[in-house]
């Protein structure tokens, strides 16, 4: 099923993030690590929404959240 949402905002709590890199495993088009090995969002639309949800769920510290999203279909 193709993604049909038009906007997506993903927040990273840098204080909670411990650099596990789980998000990069599940949504490599969306997340990366910066120089401090903290998660950053490189492209909020970089992966299917399911992959982003799994990445958020997989974060060991709960540092990621989907803050806004308009889904259609």
């Amino acid at each position: 099923m193709p993604d049909q949402e038009r906007t997506r905002e993903i927040a990273v709590d840098r204080e909670l993030c411990m650099g596990s890199g789980m998000c990069i495993v599940y949504a490599p088009g969306t997340f990366a690590h910066d120089e401090a090995t903290k998660a950053i969002v490189i492209d909020p639309m970089g992966d299917a929404i399911d992959a982003v949800r799994i990445a958020i769920e997989a974060c060991p510290t709960g540092a990621l959240s989907l803050t806004s999203e308009e889904e259609r279909g």
């Binding site: 411990m18 650099g19 890199g21 789980m22 990069i24 495993v25 690590h33 799994i54 510290t61």
Partner: protein, 397 residues
């Protein structure tokens, strides 16, 4: 390398994990026909995927009862909590913030050529023979050599460290179990003393721990020992076990194996699916610090819980048709690396080793099957499931 609390010898209900049984899928999946939360051996056993994820994400659920640390870790170490496995809350987070970047994707990616060279060298040693105990010749040496060189321990010590690791995870007898932990402490202590005496800083993980700071303080010798102890256990066993389960399965499923041989780009997804169905670390322990309710069961502060990763990964509500091995399974959320705060620290290294190992094997030895004259050892009730020995036959390369 699961940073998940001490697993249990019998990780399932009603004999779901029985030594010598090849595929436990049906048995494990059958757990879900029963009640999702059951008291067994004084611990509440959780088997539903959503329950396991929810419980392991609670800040008020810890990995271990602080009062039990001394008892548990006497068997495992110096009577102090293993770091970060037996820490919770802020202490745990501080150490994970130090350790996770060392095992982050970018860091481990640099090891790919090293792992490939080692894998190819190990295969060279038996490729002409047409038969091999793949466990002893490949599954065991590959991750342990990679890991010891990362830690900065001499490769000559591999046999000793494997003896220690087996003594703690699969002891041959009481004596083996009793000797292993203290011997490892003694060995690590001597290593740290040697480094201190030499005065030079080595560029390896132990060298990094010795210069690291947590809360503005250097780590003590004890801290470094408690971290390294856990890494030795994790780094020397879990990839070995996973790899043996995967190669055994592929040896018994030639059509699926041929697909991977023909198209190695399928490997990452196949590895995830094989991790899901084999889940080498069967279960973890958790400790409630407050009262709460799950699945209609009252949990009281102080109660022990057992989260069964292997069962959660066979939950039909999360994984439709859980017993079928589907390399194209969409949205594979398996928690073979555990879930929540104590999620495996070394999963990126593990995934890389598994992929590079299978790539190398399939390039050199594309057709392998179980040796009809020798019996593989399906060790399902061990803390970590593995296939030892794993006797294979193949067309000599």
């Amino acid at each position: 390398m699961a940073d998940s609390a001490s697993a249990v010898a019998d990780g399932g209900r009603d004999g779901a994990f029985v030594d010598g049984v090849v595929d436990t899928y049906e048995r494990v999946a059958a757990i879900h026909h029963g009640t999702p939360a059951t008291k067994r051996d004084g611990a509440l056993e959780l088997t539903r995927f959503e329950d396991v994820v929810a419980v392991t994400k609670r800040r008020d659920v810890h990995s271990i009862d602080p009062d039990a640390v001394a008892i548990v870790s006497m068997a495992l170490g110096a009577g102090r909590p293993l770091i970060p496995l037996m820490l919770d809350g802020e202490q745990h987070t501080k150490y994970r913030k130090l350790l996770d970047p060392l095992f982050a994707p970018k860091q481990v990616a640099r090891l790919e050529p090293v792992i490939r060279n080692l894998a190819e060298g190990l295969i060279d040693a038996f490729a002409a023979d047409g038969e091999v105990d793949f466990f002893a010749a490949f599954c065991e040496p590959l991750p342990s050599q990679i890991f010891l060189s990362q830690l900065g321990l001499p490769l000559d010590d591999v046999p000793f460290l494997l003896w220690v690791k087996n003594g703690i995870i699969r002891p041959t007898d009481e004596e083996h179990l009793a000797a292993a932990g203290p011997k490892l402490i003694e060995y690590l202590d001597a290593e740290l003393d040697r480094r201190e005496a030499s005065g030079e800083q080595q560029d390896d993980l132990i060298g990094g721990f010795l210069t690291a700071e947590v809360d503005g303080h250097s780590l003590t010798h004890e801290d470094v020992i408690d971290i390294t102890f856990l890494l030795v256990l994790a780094g020397l066993d879990t990839v070995t076990a996973s790899l043996s389960c995967m190669v055994d399965w592929l040896a018994r499923h030639p059509a699926e194996r041929d697909r991977l041989v023909a198209d190695p780009s399928l490997l990452p997804a196949a590895i995830e699916e094989l991790m899901r169905v084999h889940t080498p670390v069967v279960a973890g322990s958790r400790h409630a610090t407050v009262d709460f309710e799950i699945d209609g069961v009252e949990v009281k502060a102080g109660d022990e819980m057992r989260v069964v990763w292997a069962a959660a990964n066979m939950d039909p509500d999360t994984f439709p048709e859980p017993t079928s091995v589907d390399f194209a399974r969409p949205n594979n959320r398996h928690i073979a690396f555990a879930s929540g705060f104590h999620r495996c620290l070394g999963s990126h290294l593990a995934r890389l080793e598994l992929r590079v190992a299978l790539e190398a094997l399939h390039r050199r030895i594309p057709d392998y099957w179980l040796d009809p004259n020798r019996t593989p050892g399906y060790l399902n009730t061990a803390v970590v499931r593995c296939v030892d020995p794993l006797p294979l036959v193949f067309t000599p390369a």
